[in-house]
């Protein structure tokens, strides 16, 4: 089962504004690209982070709010905040 199919089982109430931002794009490009190869593109269980060749593209609407990226980014370069009340993932089973 592919990640796209897994995410298809989920329900969200989407917010228009993103609750995630990358603090410094150059950190992803230079330091992380050289030393860590951007692990956010592999550890995020909802595939929120993708490298587009220049910067990390953030699909915040896929986020399942596990907070892994907050600790997993080697440079603490991901500014992740709790979605506004009532928005975001809505588990059906938990």
């Amino acid at each position: 089962m592919k990640i796209e199919e897994k995410l298809y089982t989920l329900h969200w109430k989407h917010d228009k504004q993103s609750h995630i931002s990358i603090t410094r794009a150059d950190t992803c490009l230079d330091r992380c690209g050289g030393e860590w190869k951007r692990p956010c593109t592999t550890f995020c269980p909802a595939n929120v982070y993708a490298w587009d060749g220049e910067k990390i593209a953030v699909s915040f609407e896929n986020c399942i709010e596990c907070t892994t990226c907050v600790l997993g980014c080697p440079y603490r370069n991901i500014d992740w905040r709790l979605p506004r009340g009532g928005f975001g993932i809505e588990w059906q089973n938990g």
Binding site: K6, P39, T42, G72
Partner: protein, 435 residues
């Protein structure tokens, strides 16, 4: 909500810990607001799926029999795996039919369970405010005096704030009660709800109707990372999941979904899931740092409970029960503080004393070295199950070789994989981490 209203307590987060705290306080007549960022308690919450009856009944002694549980656990198994074998161990028991006591362990789905639990708190007088994210604490002269929510005019003051916002708590950081956590101190767990008919589950797991099994799976399935997989039975579904330290995911570049797919196709796991339909894919962070990663548990006007305080005993897959016990003790501490009219750290330190006198801190202290061992040497979690499987398979293979010769063979093979002084070293480390 007017900011001039003064409540006795604000609880942030309607999980097992926060709801237990709120309910305990409200029952004693304290005025309590319980904030929850989901529209309905439970919708943001995930765990493997095993909960314990004693700590639940301590909080809701009358209504626990109505809790929406999935199955009463009567069969607990542990598997030590290689890619194509497992050494298995387990315990099975017949529950006493007429017992008035709550079952020891049962499986739950957190969305229905947490909603039910929060409704118990509301019935006790708690004012539940869902759909509301607490974004900050209001602090004055080093004292926590209230919370700031994401709503317009969303400040609310109270004598006490109970932080129960879960794993990777932002509020603990804002209160200055902890250093920032490390990627080695938190795990990521992903799981799926796999739907199967109740009868199929009972046949496959050899269970009576309503009874359940749990399997914890160690070894090759985590691919050299510190963690484990699990299969828990619900009424008409299985909770199938696997987790590892965030630091190990980052280092190995194994994706969580690949790890889960590999686990599901393990030759011992796959037959259990056959024909099942994946209903939901879930993921959550689980505290792994244990005792040494805990924040300060109290301050002026503030207490911390549950995952927010790293109260998870991973070796025994316990967490929600620690949260419920801690929540209850936080509530009892607040009742004393209200009586004394003093919400300072001095009075609230009773909370820490209660935890120290209970299994919560005693167990976390007992295993305080374990997280570091798992983090530093995850390869042992693959090596020893492999050695064990080889040894058992050798002894069970009837090929004309004498059993004494087989023992020699096993010893030679073990020593080839790990010299005796290293085995001794591992044994001492293991003993020190678990004694």
């Amino acid at each position: 909500m007017g900011s001039d209203e003064q409540f006795d307590a604000i609880v942030v987060g309607a999980g097992p810990g926060g709801t237990s705290a709120a309910l305990t306080m409200a029952r004693a007549g304290l005025s309590v607001v319980l904030f929850e960022r989901a529209e309905r308690p439970g919708q943001k919450n995930v765990m493997g799926g095993v909960m314990y009856g004693r700590m639940l009944a301590d909080v809701v002694p009358d209504s626990w029999p109505e809790a929406p549980i999935e199955r009463v656990v009567t069969d607990e198994r542990v598997w030590m795996t290689t890619p194509d074998s497992a050494v298995t161990l387990g315990q099975r028991h017949v529950p006493h039919a007429a017992s008035a006591d709550p079952p020891n362990a049962f499986t739950v789905l957190r969305v229905p369970f947490d909603a039910w639990f929060a409704a118990q708190a509301e019935a006790a007088g708690v004012l539940l405010v869902p759909g509301t994210t607490v974004v900050d604490l209001i602090q004055e002269q080093g004292r926590v005096v209230g919370v700031r929510t994401g709503r317009e005019d969303g400040d609310l003051r109270a004598s006490l704030v109970v932080i129960a916002d879960g794993a990777n708590s932002f509020l603990v950081q804002k209160a200055g009660l902890s250093r920032p956590l490390e990627a080695t101190e938190m795990a990521l767990v992903v799981k799926e709800i796999v739907a199967l008919p109740a009868g199929t589950i009972e046949e496959r797991f050899n269970l009576e109707p309503g009874h359940g099994a749990t399997i914890e799976v160690y070894g090759s399935v985590t691919r050299g990372m510190a963690g484990y997989g699990f299969v828990y039975t619900n009424r008409e579904s299985l909770s199938v999941g696997i987790g590892a330290l965030i630091a190990h995911f980052a280092r190995t570049r194994i994706t969580p979904w690949d790890l889960l797919e590999g686990f599901k196709t393990h030759p011992l796991v796959a037959p259990l899931l056959r024909g099942g339909e994946v209903r939901e894919y879930l993921g959550h962070a689980i505290p792994e740092g244990g005792f040494r990663a805990m924040p300060r548990l109290y301050g002026d006007g503030v207490l911390v409970v549950g995952d927010a305080a790293m109260m998870v005993n991973n070796l025994h897959r316990e967490g929600s029960n620690l949260a419920m016990a801690a929540g209850r003790m936080a509530g009892e501490t607040a009742i004393q503080a209200k009586r004394a009219g003093d919400w300072s750290a001095r009075t609230l330190s009773t909370y820490r004393d209660l935890l120290e006198a209970s299994f919560v801190l005693q167990d976390l202290r007992k295993y305080e070295r374990l997280p570091e061992l798992a983090e530093r040497r995850p390869e042992l979690l693959e090596l020893y199950p492999a050695i064990l499987n080889e040894a058992v398979q050798e002894m069970l293979t009837v090929d004309g070789t004498s059993k004494r010769e087989k023992q020699r063979r096993i010893l030679r093979r073990v020593l080839a994989r790990r010299p005796w002084w290293q085995l001794l070293h591992d044994a001492i480390d293991g003993w020190r981490a678990m004694r």
